[in-house]
Symmetry: D2
Subunit: 147 residues, 4 copies
């Protein structure tokens, strides 16, 4: 599998979501069940599109969806009921038919998790399609420069 | 991030779980929400421990838990309500304080997803601890040889 | 609110699903999080339709959906990771635009939960519609007689 | 089953939570999956305890938990991705070993759902126990008078 960076580039445009861990996200180990972090990434990604691009609903209305093709999450620290997490998202890469996002999850000062997701652009029939050129050009302006 | 193989080694001991996609696992795209695949991996991992090692409950009773430290899933094909998935799991690696598992998810003949998870062994206080030596030796016998 | 019986009528046609509690359904109290029982009811309801009526997918293909309008669950006993539950469902009532189902959840011999759900029939636009007459007549044959 | 009111008493002390529907709460009908409403009630109940009594964590630290014994939800209107819900909670009744809460969920001006939950007080061993007298007296002051 391909390697990819999981550090927030210094110059990245980011969006952030605060999330107070609900009791229903915990498991019998007393900590947040790991599958939930994948959901937290979605919250921040949806926020990023709204703040820097356009609401995800607009993509849907125009006949596009982003289907997840890869999920990669590193968990550094368990989190518990009622802790407040800050999930930060940035756009990592834009290609012809795919996008990828990077994420940090912090609890106070501590880094809790690093995430990376990849998405294919599909049409109403579920076929992979190219991101429209004008849209793609805008998205490219949101990608931070390589260090 | 480190690369890792995501192919089921030919000689791997595996366990498999059949899972019929419930309606509640779908999302407004009409497909299984991607975070659920992380749960499906857990079903197969729990089965693997029961079949080839010992039930996860026994680890808990002895004061051990496996905390997830890394999740990596490649999604190749969307799946839908009422489709039957076969999730296959094998032990990929055993180290002093960590384990990793590999996974295939198939829908009929088609490969739906590849997964890989890494787990740290912790004690009742949540501290990382070494896997007991006898246990570790048994686990090592379950790891398929490198190709 | 209206009262309703929550006892499985002796003569009811039922369907049952076996469900082994996955770790991800537990919460920090060490037991199944209560919201999950609502999902378990769905598993048995979907099975009931398949066994005694027709697969839910067929309703969807014909432009119908059953939207949940009421959920009522009594929990008698907590359940834990790896316990095997038996969820039994029967059709409780059929009206012009709505249906209701009753449920038992058992863990071994013990009654774990009683459930009752009510559903409105909607069309592709989300409008409440009458259940087609022939369909309704068949469904009525599935309802157990009043005691 | 017993009937119970599901109207917010005019004089009730309430707490409210705003919740923007995440994509992962939707299902293939394009609406919030009904089991999720049970989770939304929990968010408001936890907030109520924090604002008018004490954080739920304090109950846990003192060896108490509230186990859910009954869930009753009426759904009046479907809700969708990105809609903002307001969940309002009040204390409905306090008995020797149990509590019940009432809930309203609104989307804008529209009433989306009414809820009612009942909880038993348990100790660290999972046994039902009486709510400590001083605590019970305080909780009783939070219950709105009967109309």
């Amino acid at each position: 599998m391909r390697t990819h960076r999981l550090h927030c580039p210094a110059l990245a445009l980011t969006s952030k979501v605060e999330y107070c861990v609900p009791f229903y996200d915990t498991d019998a180990m007393g900590i947040v069940h790991h599958a939930n972090y994948v959901r937290y990434l979605e919250l921040a990604r949806v926020r990023f599109l709204r703040e820097h691009d356009e609401p995800y609903q607009r993509y849907i209305e125009q006949g596009y969806n982003f289907v997840v093709t890869r999920i990669d999450v590193q968990l550094r620290r368990a989190t518990r009921f009622d802790e407040v997490l800050t999930v930060r998202c940035w756009l990592e890469r834009v290609r012809a038919v795919s996008l990828s996002f990077g994420y940090h999850i912090r609890c106070g000062e501590e880094l809790t998790a690093l995430g990376w997701t990849e998405h294919g652009t599909i049409d109403r029939l579920g076929k992979l399609v190219r991101i429209p050129e004008a849209k793609r050009e805008h998205l490219l302006t949101l990608v931070p420069p390589l260090r």
